[in-house]
């Protein structure tokens, strides 16, 4: 399985929001939180392909 790196442009306030979510126990890292968002968003918005979980 290959991996692709996506670089998000975020300011310090946006990073603060992400870090607050991590402090609140929603995720273990910034990357993990972003990937969780993608996973849950895709599950809710894309036609089921059997690959969103």
């Amino acid at each position: 399985m290959t991996e692709t790196t996506v670089r998000l442009r975020l300011n310090q306030q946006q990073l603060e929001l992400i870090d607050n979510s991590i402090k609140a126990g929603e995720s273990g890292s910034r990357e993990e939180l972003i990937r969780r968002a993608l996973r849950e968003f895709a599950a809710a918005h894309l036609v089921a392909t059997g690959k969103t979980s």
Binding site: R7, L8, Q12, L17, L38, T52
Partner: protein, 309 residues
Amino acid sequence: MTTGRKTVQELTIEPGTGKALELRRGQVLRIEQTSGRQCADFNCFNLHDYKEFFHTGRTRHLHGLHPTKGDFLWSAPPRERPMMAIIEDTVGTNDVLYPRCSAFLFEHHYGLAVHTNCHDIQAEAQREFGLTPDDVHDSFNFFMHTGVDAAGRPFIAKNTAKRGDYVELLALMDVLAIPNVCGADVMMTSDFELKPLKLTVFEGVDRDWSRISEPPRLKNQRSPSEFKVKNIKADRELYRDSSYRPEFTNVPLQISELEVNLTDDEIAWIQQLKSTGKYGESDAEVLRYVFFTWWIGKFMHGPKHAAST
């Protein structure tokens, strides 16, 4: 319903008029239809600091275009405190979309240069407390039946309030409350006839307080003690402060790149989302959109204000 309440004041305001009423925290103002179908415009100030006043915009943001029982009347930023709470509303057709009618409006639309209008009625009522026509603010329009059509244009519908219908407002701070009989007799607002409104001020009882939810208390509900300029400007001319040095919050905003490693499946989802044209042009834009939209839906407090995706 007055059970257990002591009446403090009772009066009727006639067409073309309004009345400024001092209300202490815990008192209740009832605005009541005498014959029905009458819009009541309303302004509200902090009795001890008139620079804190009711704000249609924040109220609209938090409660929508038609606030009703259970909703608050909020003051303008940066104060942003609930000034009054709507604890009863027997009609449910209130409006915070339309601005007050004004002399300009009747002259412009109808060619009527001298005409009853809510701005001037409010100004005249507020003058009793030393306020000027510049202090009148956009009104809360009780009993004004409005909507927005499919094209996004606001409209005024037939007033449905009947004789005896009323709204009740609980003062959450000491306020100057100014209701007026809307002066628009050539618009749909009050069914083309101006009628008196009955006003009653009660001492509130425990039951009145039990009808409101606990409003937020946050550090960003600021007071003048936190302002860099604490005094009210007392002259009309604007001139530059030569000692001014900007101190904007969190500026400069610094952009950094957050690397996120995605699997083939995850990249495929992004491509699928990108192909809809709704989420962004690059993979990074799509992912950022997805993240914040997800976060708002999951964690943000209050109304989401998000378009369907």
